[in-house]
Amino acid sequence: MNRCNFVSPRAMSEVLDILAADPEAKLLAGGTDLIVQMREGRVSPRTLVDLSRFGELSYIKLRHDTLHVGCMTTFNQVARNPLVVRHAPALAQAARQVGSVQIRNQGTIGGNLANASPAADSIPPLIALGAKAQVVSRDGSRSLAIEDLLAGVGINTLLPGEMIAEINFSLPAPRARSAFVKLGRRKAMAIARISMAGLLVLSADGLVTEARLALGAVGATVFRALEAEAALLHKPLDRAVVAACLQAVQDTVAQKLGRRASATYKREAIRGVAEELFFQLVPELSAP
């Protein structure tokens, strides 16, 4: 690792000033991705800005039916938060499956998002929840959908001087169901080979009124499976409808993967991941 400047600001305004002055400076949140990348020599920032010295970026709070999650909130804080567990089980499930206990104590949701890995565990559920990122700079702030923050493998759309301060989402409808499924090579400390999150809202008469499905590790970014969502909308959740949706998921993934080396495996295995997701979302369908 090369030498670099290490600064520990004591307030958000200081961070934004540093970023404005040196847009190349790297923010250090939990460091579970950044430090690994530095160790491998993939990045060598001149300035590291430590975000751990002031507490104001770590919070989970409910205001006017919107859940606000500070960028420095760790995965364990997300996983154990009763509001998240109750209203956004998919996000809690994803946070529980990140790395190991030690990594979950260290890694943050903001860092996970900014790192923009297609295999990031928190991103599919955030997209399924319709979450937005609150992005700030010295000059102001803006809100953008999570999908719009992702530009490619490890590439986000933040402008020079900007950082993700918060992630927020409107609480899903009372009849919403959400879940997250990750396929890895082992049960902990695993990078997702494929991941998928889904959120479904059913009307009183059992029709799907809202469907968001997000796929991870099968493209350059996490993305929504729009055709598969369309296969569900305004329909009853019966076996035939789910089958059509699964087929659409599989087609989308096959198209997205193209001729990548991993495509042979993933375009088949996605079927199992999607099946498991629907097993969790609609357990009554699998009842004997």
Partner: protein, 752 residues
């Protein structure tokens, strides 16, 4: 035998300090005025060194010394069997990671920086990465003597005739992977000169006395000017049997006359460490209609990588165990151990037996299926017994446990209730299966190598006894077992025995902590020494207190002498007056077979441990993911010395063999190692580890200490085919290539 300590689950003496982190491994040590060492390694798999320029690195601030092949005072080579691996390469590099220079600097950072300033000009040579290609005459020669390190053949009986008589013949090819030990402590340590002019190397290793030989030979020093301290060791598994960094530490200390520390990074360890040999195993096995094995023809091609180390010996071990724990009257086996420009292969827990047992136990399942026989029955029918001949035709004269072990495996709940366990998978699209396999593994070094144990026992002024044994504690738990065996003979409590291992300045050479041997050989040596000390105490007390020797009796906390009762402190005070000692050394020479197997050097082994495993898996038919839900292990260790220790070995072995079955593999692409850390070298975590139960079968070996054999390796062998056989039982996918990754299993499901 009425045993007081043997077999009891006595907690290890090092458990607490290891759990709290208080224990110090050799690579944890540091000293004032210490330098940091680094090794410059080849980035190319095969190249000539055209020039080597260290001038910039030498001039770099903080750098104390930079050494190349010119600076190796003695033999610039090492290797346990043949010395073909340069300490520092002079003209040629043969794998990515081959050492070219070493340096020492005032700080880690300066050392890292200076490494980049060494200029090496290479002329690239074509690399050879496929062992079957390497065997061809037309391939580029990696060593002047050619690319075949060892070629051996054995044929006993008449294989052709027996195949003709067989009702079924099963022929398959198996390919195995390249796992690494993945020990907690990477290779590392410290070296320094003492005031007495002795160079002490502190480095976690499995045979310090042999390391002294190799270090002294490379440095051109007398052996008594080198001392190796290698205990505690943060895991060995075979990967610290050969030299790792000992010679580099010694060279740097020799040149700087300062303490030097050198610890490999995990990435460096993954690239340069000793791997298990990948093998291509072709097996043709014939059986009669009732499942009796008649003929077995085996070809083994073993990729030893760039240097020999124990490659030839490991090939022979694979050949000896090529019929697993089964009796086959007609066997023809041919083995090649081949150099390639891949990473180096060497000793790793199982020593060639994992590979062939995976193949043989798959053959057994296929035979059972083709003949319509029960998988347990066919194994029991063919299980080796005392008096049978082994795969290479040698007579088995010691306690053989395959039949008893398999019978116990058949009685485990997991096997007998397997249909119940398989009945309700967790998802409609998942399927469960149960697999069974068994293995034997020879204990000790075989026919040729001197195979001895040595130990000393002495009474200390504190009234405690000190036991000294060369075989280091490498995490396997031999220390507590040594203490129990000594206490059993001495009569005192285990708490009163202190054990020192792995220090050539303190402990007698007792051979390696490898080959499932340390309990067997060192245990017998301890019994010898402790028996003598009991006599010394009895005679000494008898003389001082004027009582009959028969009336002196050593007890748990005190010694009875006629009517008097003495504490051990009193005993020490009486016996150690005026510079007198109460000390004895003990020795054990492992018995050997009466004759060597013709044409394969160093075989056969005499004593064998046995293990059987039953595994329950659940396979996701849509993703190929395999989850191991339950493991039952059955272990024949002969007489168990420490039940807790045996269970620890059994559970650790099962998890290691599970990683071998499902995920672990060092991926090398054109000589470049792609798996550099635990993010993509996938070992099972605690979350992946199922409940493991261990059943003990004690097939007592009369030459063993209290009847014990060794189990350090056999516990990790049959679990691998038990899992792959369970996969077949679940989804009819036959795994013939390790590891059974999600991709391979799914591809198998699609082909089926």
């Amino acid at each position: 035998m009425n045993l007081r300590w043997i077999g009891k689950p006595i907690p290890r003496q090092d458990a607490w300090t290891k759990v709290t982190g208080e224990a110090r491994y050799m690579s944890d040590l540091s000293m004032p005025n210490m330098l940091w060492g680094r090794v410059l390694r080849s980035p190319h798999p095969h190249a000539l060194i055209k020039s080597l320029d260290i001038s910039e690195a030498v001039a770099c601030p903080g750098v104390v010394t930079v050494l190349t092949h010119h600076d190796v005072p003695g033999l610039n080579a090492y290797g346990i069997v043949v010395q073909d691996q340069p300490v520092l390469c002079s003209d040629k590099v043969r794998f990515v990671g081959d050492a070219v220079a070493v340096l020492a600097a005032e700080s880690k950072e300066a050392a890292a920086h200076a490494l980049e300033l060494i200029k090496v000009e290479y002329e690239l040579l074509p690399g050879v990465f496929d062992p079957e290609v390497a065997m061809q005459q037309s391939s580029p020669a990696i060593h002047a003597k050619g690319n075949v390190l060892r070629h051996s053949k054995v044929h006993h009986g008449d294989v052709e005739a027996a195949f003709a008589d067989s009702a079924v013949v099963v022929e398959r090819e198996y390919r195995t992977s390249r796992p690494i030990s993945a020990f907690l402590e990477t290779e590392g340590g410290m070296a320094m000169f003492g005031a007495d002019g002795v160079l002490t190397v502190y480095c976690g290793a499995q045979y310090p006395d042999r390391d002294v030989i190799q270090v002294a030979r490379a440095l051109g020093l007398e052996r008594d000017k080198v001392r190796m301290v290698s205990s505690l060791v943060g895991g060995g598994f075979g990967g610290k049997d050969e030299i790792t960094v000992q010679i580099y530490l010694a060279l740097l200390a020799l040149n700087t006359k300062r303490p030097v520390k050198l610890v490999l990074s995990r990435e460096e360890s993954m690239v340069t460490g000793w791997k298990k040999h990948p093998m291509i195993v072709r097996m043709k096995t014939g059986a009669s209609i009732d499942g009796t094995l008649l003929a077995h023809e085996v070809s083994i091609i073993s990729d030893t990588g760039a240097y020999a180390s124990l490659g030839g010996t490991i090939l022979h071990s694979a050949m000896e165990h090529c019929s697993g724990p089964y009796r086959v009257p007609n066997v023809k086996v041919e083995g090649h151990c081949v150099y390639t420009n891949n990473s180096i292969s060497g000793a790793m827990r199982g020593f060639g037996v994992n590979q062939v047992t995976f193949a043989m136990e798959t053959q057994m399942d296929i035979l059972a299926e083709e003949l319509g026989l029960d998988r347990l029955d066919i194994r029991l029918k063919n299980g080796l017994k005392d008096g049978d001949k082994g795969a290479l035709g040698s007579l088995l004269v010691t306690a053989m446990g395959p039949v008893q072990t398999l019978q116990a495996a058949g009685q485990t709940e997991l096997w007998s209730q397997r249909e119940t366990y398989k009945a309700e998978p967790s998802r409609p699209w998942k399927k469960r299966g149960v697999g069974l396999a068994a293995a034997i593994k020879g204990c000790g070094l075989g026919f040729r190598m001197p195979d001895f144990g040595a130990a000393s026992v002495e009474l200390l002024p504190s009234g405690f006894f000190r036991v000294r044994v060369g075989c280091p504690e490498i995490g396997q738990g031999n220390t507590i077992a040594f203490a129990q065996m000594a206490a059993e003979v001495l009569g005192c409590s285990v708490d009163q025995v202190e054990v020192v291992t792995g220090d050539t300045g303190e402990t007698p050479d007792s051979g390696t902590s490898t080959a499932s041997r340390s309990i067997y050989v060192a245990g017998n040596a301890i019994i010898d020494a402790a028996t003598k000390v009991v006599e010394l105490v009895e005679q000494g007390i008898s003389a001082r207190l004027v009582v009959d020797v028969e009336e002196v009796e050593l007890g748990e906390a005190e010694v009875r002498a006629g009517d008097a009762i003495l504490s051990y402190l009193d005993v020490a005070a009486l016996l150690l007056q005026n510079g007198q000692t109460c000390y004895a050394s003990g020795r054990f020479d492992a018995p050997k077979a009466t004759e060597e197997v013709p044409s394969v050097y160093g075989l056969p082994h005499l004593v064998f441990g046995t293990n059987a495993h039953v595994a329950l898996v659940e396979v996701d038919t849509m993703t190929g993911q395999v989850e191991v839900l339950r493991i039952s292990a059955v272990s024949d260790a002969g007489r168990v010395i420490n039940l807790q220790g045996l269970e620890g070995q059994s559970e650790g072995g099962a998890v290691m063999g599970m990683g071998y079955a499902l995920t672990e593999d060092i991926i090398i692409d054109q000589g470049m190692v792609r798996t550099l850390n635990f993010n993509n070298y996938i070992i099972p975590t605690a979350m992946d580890t199922p409940p493991i139960s261990t059943t003990v079968v004690e097939v007592v070996e009369k030459t063993g200490p209290f009847g014990a054999k060794g189990v350090g390796e056999v516990v990790c062998i049959s679990i691998t085919p038990a899992i792959t056989n369970a996969i077949y039982d679940a989804v009819k996918v036959r795994v013939t290539e390790l590891p059974a990754t999600i991709e391979r299993v799914l591809a198998g499901l699609q082909d089926g």
